[in-house]
Assembly symmetry: none
Homo-oligomer: 125 residues x 4
DNA sequence: GTGGTCTAGACCACT
DNA sequence: GTGGTCTAGACCACG
């Protein structure tokens, strides 16, 4: 369900947040769905429960999930919308980096190629 | 000359490196130009000299500048080329983010539009 | 009859206790009235029977209700008096918060105004 | 500097948050002041560093302080304003409880007395 | 020295 | 079973 990179610079808990949001954006997780419990997931990923707790707490703070103590943690109705807004920020990030590359004299085709490559399509240049 | 964010997630020394490279990429710094001394710059930016030393050392390691002990630190002839090669990392960053957006179900056109917008061209859809 | 918040910080069983007492304080529940059975209420509120059992046990312990096995659970004659005494806890809560506000430098008039406002009287200052 | 109650129901980290805000509200902590470091404070209070980290993180999320990694944590310029807004919520809490007490038939004088007592003044009834 | 992250494992209350 | 909190102690990067 989750893929963890223990050696990258991004903290594990951020990876959990990121991937959970991705699951919501893609529709794999919907309103009312229960998130895997801290204990279960910690065993599956061999990650410390506290680390997962931290990730889930942040998701809760963002309004993406809500905890019913003793019952589990559930995806909220606003989750999809909130995650969607977050995606717009990422688009802004792409734009910002593109501006840098532009200023540095990189051809636009190279940047477009990078995007296309990510989407699994090779473009001719 | 430099703009430092003391509270962001990016270390100060990386900000120095990044911005120095940007100045070279934009042509504001050319071969033979002298870089501000550690002592002077540390006062200007109120940044720890060790931090600047670390940044400059890294720039030297990359072959972007060279120190002439007692005389100062100067931009090398290879600097522009080396910085240019470094830009490929940024392309990789674009690709990485694009992959995330792809996984989250964002249409490729939106991402391409973000890039095009940065290059000052409006795309038709 | 009851309003449950499954996600708040207050345990469900405390909410049941609290609201039952409120009904008694307001006179909606009087001596001899029968409380809804655990089974029925658990379905209505979709709450675990154990949770209700816990709430009712506590109410019994306080002498607010009493169970006639096989016949149901009934409000006692002392209920109103006992609930009344319990209100002193709320007064303590007011005092505790007031102490915080005092420590934070809020003027006493503002707090007194908040109380008066709740009692539907405007205070002159 | 801080007073911890280890046996109450309020988590330690919330006590830290609360008391830090109180120090800001009272003016004892001002913009730019450095908060005691996690390590130092953990020794002083004999509280685990993680617990303090959690408290400080929350304060940071609220915009009350900001961390400069490697340098310490500092009170922001907005801190006083943010804390002030939080106090208004507490006043609302007083009002809400007062309404409950009103509904339950408690005399307004008793509530006003509770407030006055907190402010160290005894009122006659 | 600072903050940030993580692990290991414990305890508690609630359902 | 669930989530929430806490302790003890470790490692890392930064300044």
């Amino acid at each position: 369900m989750f893929q963890i990179d223990r050696f990258g610079r991004v903290p594990i808990y951020e990876q959990i947040i990121e991937q959970t949001q991705r699951l919501i954006a893609s529709g794999a997780l919907k309103e009312g769905d229960q998130l895997p419990s801290v204990r279960v997931l910690s065993q599956e990923l061999t990650v410390n429960p506290n680390t997962l707790q931290k990730a889930y707490s942040e998701l809760e703070r963002r309004g993406i999930c809500i905890s019913a103590p003793g019952n589990g943690r559930f995806v909220t109705g606003d989750a999809a919308r909130i995650v969607g807004e977050g995606l717009k920020e990422k688009l802004g990030e792409v734009r910002r980096i593109s501006e840098e590359l532009c200023a540095a004299g990189v051809h636009v085709e190279q940047v477009l190629n990078a995007v296309s490559a990510a989407y699994g399509k090779e473009t001719k240049d």
